[in-house]
């Protein structure tokens, strides 16, 4: 069988019903197993792009996921394979209990009750909130809600995990735990975030989006250490964060 990338987007254009041109020609190929960070200023079109990956939005152009064109007849298959987690856990978690939220995807896939229960326990264990099945999302902390949100798609065993702003509003400890969680997941990942150090920790590749176009695309280290490029697109590393140093300690860890 010939080689099929995880995501293949060709000259994608999208404008919202009110006329806002949100995507102005996106070309992007993401290989299986890659971990890609998408960054860019507010309103760049990052979230809009994500919504095209599982056909919630369909623009002009060609989007393929694991070789399947994103079109009506493939939606069910695509939505099973693409785990899209929305930014606000209050949108992602809409059921009365955590169990039902995590079970929602597997149930729609038509799994048996036993398989569903198993998938739910496994997903909750993987994100470290086992035992909270009967809780209402309303009674969880923000960090726990974020984890459960990820569990709601992990339970469908996706091949591509897509997270919109996964680290926003997390306290430092929850943020580090999320980072560890992601690094232990050997599937293709796309992260949209304003948290550049988070991208640096979790992604090999960075795509900079600006005003609906791809402004830069390259290795995480190259992009994040290019101060001029970052400044041009309104991106800033936190004070005292130097990719060169981090890269050294990353390499050091690897050698050990």
């Amino acid at each position: 069988m010939h080689h099929r990338p995880a995501v293949e987007i060709r000259s994608l254009l999208y404008s919202y019903p009110d006329g806002t041109l949100a995507l102005r020609g996106i070309d992007l190929v993401i290989e299986e197993g890659e971990s890609v960070g998408i960054v860019g200023p507010n309103g760049a079109g990052k979230s809009t792009l994500l919504l095209h990956l599982n056909g919630i939005l369909m623009g002009k152009g060609d989007v393929r996921v694991f070789g399947l064109p994103v079109e009506k007849k493939n939606l069910q298959e695509i939505r099973r394979r693409v785990g899209l987690v929305f930014q606000d856990p209050d949108d992602q978690l809409f059921c009365p209990t955590v169990f039902e939220d995590v079970a929602f995807g597997p149930m729609n896939m038509g799994l048996s009750k036993k398989e569903v229960s198993l998938a739910v326990s496994r997903a909750l264990r993987d994100v470290g909130v086992a035992g909270k099945e009967r809780r209402s999302a309303h009674h969880l902390s923000y960090g726990q809600k974020k984890r459960v949100s990820i569990a709601t798609v992990l339970s469908m065993r996706p091949d591509l995990l897509v997270l919109d702003e996964p680290s926003s509003n997390l306290d430092p400890k929850s943020r580090r735990e999320l980072s560890e969680l992601l690094q232990n997941m050997p599937i293709t990942k796309i992260l949209v975030t304003h948290d550049l150090p988070f991208v640096f920790e979790n992604c090999d590749r960075v795509v900079v989006l600006s005003a609906g176009r791809i402004a830069a695309d390259g290795a995480a280290f190259d992009i994040l250490s290019d101060e001029e490029l970052l400044a041009e697109y309104g991106l800033e590393l936190p004070y005292g964060f130097y990719p060169v140093q981090r890269q050294r300690s990353k390499n050091h860890d690897r050698e050990m």
Binding site: L51, V82, L84, F86, C95, G105
Partner: protein, 254 residues
């Protein structure tokens, strides 16, 4: 994004008594039956009402839910009873009358007042028992299993999930407004309330769209599935016998 604490809708429902462990369907049927039986009991069967209350007290005792909680929640019926109390005794003539100081009260009116008071108390007591021994999600499943229309259970489920999210949103807007010196004293400030209602509506609408997108993303196709299984055992039958058969027996014995 701070979370503002609200009272639990189903406080004490996470205790661990025999009553809490019962199949929620049995509890739903049992308490609804009790309410129906109570409401249809003629007001002059004093003993029947005593039995209803005794049954409820027994269930309360077994469930370990504090009486104080029940009494607090029962306060919500007081305004209704008072409203009835204010009017009925004076407008209903017949069956003789009593002089209460300067007031003349008809016996029929008093009967109606008693009828409303005792029935609303027994009924509200039953609902409080149900909600403080059964987590709301379990109640929803019970309704689904009992073939209540999906549209109702789904609506209730979203309400349960989002009522506090919405209240949080309102709370945050109010804080933002008050932080900027809103006093509510001036007429022009009333306009702000209108804006707030508009903003709340818009936010809810947009939330609705995002939630729907999140549902679609996980393969939703208009069909809600449930993965709950319940079983009816000795405890459930015992409970139903107590809460349904005893009242029926009492009613038939008059």
């Amino acid at each position: 994004m701070r979370r503002i604490q609200h009272a639990f809708l189903d406080e004490y429902s996470d205790l661990d008594s025999v009553i809490h462990k019962l199949d929620p369907r049995a509890k739903l049927i049992g308490f609804v039956a009790l309410v129906v039986l109570c409401v249809s009991t003629p007001p002059n069967l004093w003993l029947a009402f005593a039995v209803f209350l005794a049954l409820e007290m027994t269930v309360l005792f077994i469930s370990h839910v504090p009486l104080r909680h029940v009494l607090k929640r029962m306060l919500i019926v007081v305004p209704f009873i008072l409203a009835v109390a204010l009017f009925i005794p004076f407008f209903n003539k017949g069956g003789g009358s009593y002089n209460l100081g300067p007031l003349k009260v008809s016996a029929h009116g008093l009967t109606i007042l008693w009828n409303v008071t005792i029935k609303s108390m027994v009924s509200v007591f039953a609902v409080i028992l149900l909600s403080s021994t059964t987590p709301f999600p379990d109640l929803l499943h019970a309704m689904e299993k009992l073939k209540m229309p999906r549209i109702i259970t789904t609506t209730l489920s979203f309400t349960y999930r989002y009522v506090f999210v919405l209240l949080d949103e309102l709370q945050r807007m109010k804080r933002a407004r008050d932080s900027r010196g809103w006093s509510g004293k001036w007429l022009w400030q009333a306009k702000v309330i209108g804006h707030m209602i508009g903003a709340l509506f818009l936010r809810s609408y947009e939330r609705g769209e995002r939630v729907y997108a999140a549902m679609l993303s996980r393969g939703y196709d208009g069909q809600v599935q449930t993965a709950y299984t319940y079983r009816v055992g000795v405890a459930e039958i015992g409970f139903l016998a107590l809460i349904v058969l005893v009242p029926i027996a009492v009613r038939l014995s008059f």
